[in-house]
């Protein structure tokens, strides 16, 4: 899918902001005591983690659906140049054990990879062809007009629902007429390299553990893009998806909330989705996701700290937004310390080499206080529990080979995500173009 919204680049201002943040972080680090700078945001994150842990505990177990009959379902699959995955998606959708009528609408959104021609021969689907690419939201909106079901499942063309996923999610939707959308448990399909394994852990904690806790607090902020189940009347009432939004799956949930709808969730509706397998693709995806928060906070500023919308407005949304700024501070600190250490190391090695002095592996760089070590340990402990629970929710045992991956996840993936937050912030300052790709 592609969507481009032109920005108004401000490179001079962006450069000034980079320099200003660099100087501030440099001063704080050189003062030798950045303990509080690291501890205070991490303690807030710890508080949120405990909120979710207790909410998860209070939520109890989710019952599996026992409904014999469910309303008509329209499965909408927007497809753009997805020749390599769309047919696997269709196979998974067609294999659904749905106790009711189900139609499958595929919207070819101006594909140029030959998938359109192949889709024309596919059986059991209704194919809508768009000559010009309109983006995912536009494609869904077109299909929505002709959808016959009372319920709509929006499925990405690289996502594969388990056979009972639709039945489980629609059952939850039918429990309460106030629910506008049900979020599913998204898992990573084919985690066959380290980057995908990191995302697998991230998805298990995010869409598995956290989503259950946040659901209990009625504060879900996103209906996962790979597959979410909507009440068609709710979508129609709010005017469908925003076609000029880079994170339409986030925005639609916020708009549904503003229109009085609640967000449901079930971990029994499992969807597997393809995830970026290389850093470049992950970078593009995450910049879009994180810029989406900035974009939509500006669009729906009235949602921030508005008691009318409960803990979603008072807790989850502010934390998500603040997290992006924390990422900026952490990235700059990490970059500063790394560059300072490298410069120091190069000079030390050169000096030692030039006089034939013995090398020492003892570091003389920035030290760490005992208090920081204790505090770091205390902050990490609850996360060990979170990962353990997430694996359990994901139906996975933590094997011996998972332990190094989990450690690397915390050591490298966390800073990488902070870096993405940082770039997002700078792109927002620069007012770079928004792209959905």
């Amino acid at each position: 899918m592609s969507l481009n919204v032109k920005g108004e680049p401000r490179p001079a201002l962006t450069l000034l902001v980079i320099i200003a943040i660099g100087i501030i972080v440099g001063i704080v680090i050189r003062s030798g005591n950045y303990f509080w700078l690291m501890v205070i945001p991490n303690t807030f994150a710890l508080a949120l983690t405990f909120v979710i842990l207790f909410a998860y505990n209070a939520a109890g177990s989710y019952e599996k659906s026992s409904r014999k009959r469910l309303p008509d379902l329209s499965v909408i699959i927007p497809s753009y140049n997805s020749k390599s995955t769309i047919f696997k998606t269709l196979d998974a959708v067609k294999a659904s054990k749905y106790p009711g009528k189900m139609e499958v609408i595929v919207v070819d959104d101006g594909s140029t990879d030959g998938s359109r021609e192949l889709l024309k021969t596919a059986e059991g689907i209704r194919l809508l062809v768009l000559e010009k690419n309109r983006g995912k939201a536009g494609a869904i909106n077109i299909a929505l007009k002709g959808a016959k079901g009372e319920v709509v499942a929006c499925v990405d063309s690289d996502s594969y629902p388990e056979p009972d996923a639709f039945a489980e999610a629609v059952s939850v939707l039918m429990e309460d007429s106030g629910i506008g959308v049900v979020s599913c448990f998204v898992k990573v399909a084919n985690p066959n390299n380290l980057l995908k394994k990191f995302q697998e852990i991230e998805f298990m904690t995010g869409f598995g553990f956290f989503q259950i806790g946040v659901h209990f607090l009625d504060a879900i902020s996103v209906a996962p893009g790979p597959t979410s189940i909507f009440r068609k009347s709710a979508l129609e009432k709010v005017g469908g998806f925003d076609e000029h939004n880079i994170t339409e799956d986030l925005e639609i949930v916020w708009r549904l909330r503003k229109n009085g709808y609640r967000i449901g969730h079930t971990p029994h509706a499992v969807i597997y989705t393809e995830v970026p397998g290389d850093l470049g693709s992950l970078f593009k995806q995450r910049i879009r996701w994180y810029r989406g928060i900035f974009y939509n906070v500006q669009k729906h500023a009235d949602l921030l700290f508005n008691p009318k919308y409960g803990l979603f407005s008072m807790l989850v949304l502010p934390f998500s937004f603040a997290g992006e700024f924390a990422g900026v501070a952490l990235s700059f600190s990490f970059a500063y310390i790394t560059l300072a250490q490298l410069a120091w190391g190069a000079q030390y090695v050169w000096a030692a080499f030039s006089i034939g002095a013995p090398f020492s592996m003892v570091s003389a760089g920035p030290g760490v206080s005992a208090a920081a070590v204790v505090m770091g340990f205390m902050l990490v402990c609850p996360w060990i529990l979170v990962v353990y629970l997430s694996y359990a929710i994901g139906g996975r045992d933590i094997g011996i080979l998972d332990i190094p991956v989990i450690l690397l996840f915390f050591l490298f993936y966390g800073p990488l995500i902070s870096l993405f937050y940082c770039i997002t912030f700078l792109k927002e300052v620069n007012r770079s173009d928004y792209t959905w790709k």
């Binding site: 508080a47 405990f50 030390y348 002095a357 204790v374």
Partner: protein, 215 residues
Amino acid sequence: MEVKNQVLLKAALVTIVLFAASLYIGYSIESQSYTSTESKLNEFHEELENALLFSLFIQTHNQTESTCAVLRDQLDASGQNALEISQELEDNKVTVFTDYNQLRGRYFLANMRFYLMLREYKQECGDQSLEPILFFYRTYGDCPTCYTQGRVLDTVRAECENARVFAFPADSEDLAMIRAFKTYYNITGTPSLVIRDATYNGVIETDRIKALIGC
């Protein structure tokens, strides 16, 4: 109370308890370490006081071989203590709840006193088997070459029984004695060494230092 509020309350309580507990543990560890260094520094001061009395005794009562030997033992013990204190000060260069700057200041003054007493001892007792080396550095984080010189001096100290290294931060301008030393020995950069009253700027390799101190 509504279940959601209970969740929030529990989370707040656990966070506060965990936060307070970790702060308390961190504070206790730092305080303990600070107290230990402070006590070693007090001991170092006492040893120097003793050494000073011996030195005065030698000056007023003509030195004897036995009093010089006792003073030498006293100075050797102080040297070991000084090394341990300097290591602890280095280990605690970043702290949150304790301020080591005052201890550092006291240590450097005591170490200068130690250096001067060692020279006095050499003169009074005629013992040429000890070679004090003055080492001026800047905070290691800012001066990788100082770190290199420090490692070289570690090697010299390990290989030469007669070497006694006295390290001082050249950037501690608030200590008047350090300023006086720098002026006297014409220390203009770091790292710098003073061996037998001659000043050497820049990094000096192990063999050259060994040759200069007759090791």
